[in-house]
C-alpha cells in the first residue's frame, strides 16, 4: 500500500467508525442522553455510566454518541447545501457569462471578504439557534469557496471540444450544463466536499461552543465543551472526551481529504 493510500485508508477507517458509532450507537446503547439524576452528577466512569456523568447526572457516553450524530449531521448537511448552491452558482456563472457572471462573482467576492468564521457567526445570530439554522450558517460559510472553484472549472470545460461539439449539434445550454459540465465536475466536487467537511465541523462546533448552536438539553459536541468548561477542575472528563470525538472526526476528514487531493494531483 502506498503512503497516500494508507492515509486515505486510515481516514476512511476513522470516519467509518465515527459514522457507525453515531448511527448504531443510539440503537445498541439504550441509555437516554436526557435522563437526569442529580444525586449522581459529575461522576467518573462506573459500570452504570462507562464514561461517567455530566453536571446534571446524565450519561456522558450516551450524550457523546447522540452529540456526535448531531454534529456530523450539521456538518454534512451544511457542506452539502452550501456545496450544491455554490456549485450551481459557480457553474452557471462560468458557463453563461455575461451579467449573471458579474453578479455571481460579485456576490462571491463580498462573501469572501468576510473572514469565514465571522460570516458564520453573523449568519448564526440572524437566525434562531437550532441545529437546522446552524447548518445553514455552515452552508453560507461553505458556499463562496465552491462557487469560485466551480466557476473556474466551468470556464475550463466550456472550451473543451466535446462541449463545443454538443453546442454545435444543437444541445441546449441547460442540457450541456446538466450532461457535460456537471458530470465532469463531479470528481472535483467529491474532493472539495470531503476537504470542506473539516472546516465545517470546526465552525459548527465552534459556534455552538460560543452558545450559538443547538440549545440545551440537545447534546452537541461543541456545546458540551461549553458547559463542561465550568467543571474543568472537578470533572475534566466532561471537556476531554467530547473534544476527543471532535478531533478524531477532523483527523479523519483531513486524512481522507489529503489522500483524495493527492490522488487527483497524480491524475489517477
Amino acid at each position: 500500500m502506498t503512503k497516500r493510500n494508507r492515509q486515505t485508508f486510515i481516514g476512511l477507517l476513522l470516519l467509518g467508525t465515527m459514522v457507525t458509532v453515531a448511527l448504531l450507537g443510539p440503537v445498541l446503547y439504550r441509555i437516554s442522553p436526557f435522563e437526569q439524576d442529580l444525586r449522581r452528577s459529575l461522576e467518573g466512569p462506573s459500570p452504570d455510566h462507562p464514561l461517567g456523568t455530566d453536571e446534571l447526572g446524565r450519561d456522558l457516553l450516551s450524550r457523546i454518541i447522540h452529540g456526535l450524530g448531531i454534529t456530523l449531521l450539521i456538518s454534512f448537511s451544511g457542506v452539502f447545501l452550501g456545496g450544491a448552491a455554490g456549485s450551481l452558482l459557480g457553474l452557471t456563472a462560468g458557463y453563461f457569462g455575461g451579467w449573471w457572471d458579474h453578479f455571481a462573482t460579485g456576490c462571491t467576492e463580498v462573501l469572501m471578504a468576510i473572514p469565514g468564521f465571522l460570516l458564520a457567526l453573523v449568519i448564526a445570530i440572524t437566525l434562531k439557534s437550532s441545529p437546522l439554522n446552524l447548518s445553514l450558517a455552515v452552508a453560507i460559510f461553505t458556499l463562496p469557496g465552491f462557487a469560485r472553484i466551480l466557476r473556474a472549472k466551468a470556464l475550463e470545460l466550456r472550451e473543451q471540444e466535446y462541449v463545443i461539439a454538443a453546442g454545435a449539434l444543437g444541445a441546449r445550454r441547460r442540457q450541456i450544463l446538466r450532461w457535460h459540465l456537471l458530470p465532469n465536475s463531479l470528481p472535483l466536487l467529491y474532493t472539495l466536499f470531503v476537504q470542506r467537511l473539516s472546516s465545517a465541523l470546526l465552525t459548527a462546533s465552534g459556534l455552538s461552543f460560543l452558545g450559538l448552536g443547538p440549545q440545551p438539553p440537545l447534546p452537541e459536541l461543541g456545546s458540551m465543551l461549553n458547559t463542561g468548561r465550568e467543571y474543568l477542575w472537578v470533572a475534566p472528563h466532561l471537556c476531554i472526551l467530547p473534544g476527543i470525538a471532535i478531533t478524531l472526526c477532523i483527523i479523519g476528514f483531513n486524512l481522507l481529504g489529503n489522500g483524495l487531493q493527492r490522488t487527483k494531483a497524480n491524475g489517477n
Partner: protein, 303 residues
C-alpha cells in the same frame, strides 16, 4: 504593475459597498425592536417612538441604509446600545490585545512552520514524523486545545493564570493555542514548496558554485518560496481572527473577538454592524498590502 494595483484598489470599492449592504440587511433581519433593547422594558410608548425617531429605525430600509453609509463615510460606525460609547472607541480599546495575540501567534507559527518545513525538505527522514504531527495540529479545535492547556498548565501545574489574567504571561497560553493550527498549515505549505525548490536547476547551480549551505537555503531557497507563503499568510489573517474569537472566549481575554461575541449575544447590533464592517475593511486592506509586499520580495514583478 502600478496599473494592476490601481485596478485592484478601484475594484475593492464595489466589494465594500456590497459588504455594507449585506451586513446592514442581516442586522435588520435580527428579531427584536432595537429601541426597546436600548430603552429597556420600563420605557413608555412615547419614549419608545421618540427613540425610534432618533435612531431612525422607523424610516424606510433604503433611507436607513443611505444614512448608515453616510455616517460610515464620515467615520461614524455607530454607538453601542449597551455602553452608549461610539463603537470605534470600544473597538480601539480592545484592539491591542487582539493584535498582540494575532501577531505573536503568526510570528510563532511562521518560525515554527517555515523552519520545520525547510528542515523536513532538507532532511527527508523528518518528513513522516513531522507530517504526522502536523495532521494532529491541524485537527485540534482551538477551543478544545485551549481548555486542555488551561487544564494542564494552569490547573495542574499552576504555571500560568487560568483565564482573564493580566500582563504578558497571561498571553502565553492563548498564543500557543492560536499558533498550533497555523503552524501546521504553514509547515505543510513550506514543505511542498521547498521540496520543489530544492529540485530546481538554480539550486544545483548555486551548490556547484560552492556557496555555503546557509546562503544556499537562505538566499536562493527561502526567497523563492516566500511568494506562496506570503499569499497564505495574507489569507490566514481571516482564519487567525476566527481563531482569536474562540481563543479570547476560552481565556476570557478582553479583545475584539470576545467583545463581538458578547455584543452578538446581547443583540447590540450597532456594535456588530460597525465592528464587522471595520474588521472586513481591515482584511481587504491587508490583502492589498500583501500584494504590495510581493513587489518587495520578487524583483521580477516590478517590471
Amino acid at each position: 504593475m502600478l496599473h494592476y494595483l490601481l485596478r485592484r484598489i478601484v475594484h475593492t470599492i464595489p466589494v465594500l459597498f456590497g459588504l455594507s449592504l449585506l451586513i446592514f440587511l442581516l442586522m435588520r433581519a435580527l428579531p427584536g425592536d432595537p429601541a426597546l433593547l436600548y430603552a429597556g422594558l420600563e420605557a413608555t410608548e412615547a419614549e419608545l417612538s421618540d427613540l425610534r425617531e432618533r435612531m431612525g429605525v422607523n424610516k424606510s430600509l433604503l433611507e436607513q441604509y443611505l444614512a448608515f453609509i453616510e455616517s460610515v463615510l464620515h467615520g461614524d460606525f455607530g454607538t453601542s446600545l449597551r455602553s452608549g460609547r461610539p463603537v470605534i472607541v470600544e473597538l480601539a480599546m480592545r484592539l491591542p490585545i487582539t493584535v498582540e495575540l494575532a501577531l505573536f501567534s503568526l510570528l510563532g507559527a511562521g518560525l515554527l512552520g517555515i523552519g520545520l518545513g525547510i528542515a523536513a525538505a532538507i532532511h527527508p527522514k523528518l518528513v513522516t514524523p513531522l507530517y504526522l504531527l502536523s495532521t494532529i495540529g491541524l485537527s485540534l479545535p482551538v477551543y478544545w486545545l485551549g481548555l486542555l492547556l488551561i487544564l494542564f498548565f494552569s490547573l495542574r501545574l499552576g504555571w500560568f493564570p487560568p483565564a482573564g489574567g493580566l500582563g504578558r504571561s497571561s498571553l502565553i497560553l492563548p498564543v500557543l493555542t492560536l499558533t498550533t493550527s497555523t503552524a501546521a498549515t504553514l509547515f505543510r505549505l513550506t514543505l511542498t514548496e521547498y521540496q520543489a525548490v530544492t529540485a530546481a536547476d538554480y539550486m544545483r547551480t548555486a551548490k556547484a558554485k560552492g556557496i555555503s549551505n546557509l546562503r544556499l537555503h537562505g538566499k536562493h531557497g527561502l526567497r523563492n518560496t516566500l511568494i506562496p507563503l506570503m499569499t497564505f499568510i495574507g489569507l490566514e489573517f481571516g482564519n487567525l481572527f476566527g481563531g482569536a474569537v474562540l481563543t479570547e472566549s476560552v481565556f476570557a481575554l478582553n479583545g475584539i473577538g470576545r467583545y463581538l461575541v458578547t455584543s452578538v449575544i446581547q443583540r447590540d447590533y450597532p456594535v456588530v454592524q460597525g465592528a464587522v464592517l471595520l474588521i472586513c475593511s481591515v482584511f481587504i486592506l491587508i490583502h492589498l498590502v500583501v500584494d504590495l509586499i510581493y513587489l518587495a520580495i520578487d524583483p521580477r514583478l516590478r517590471r
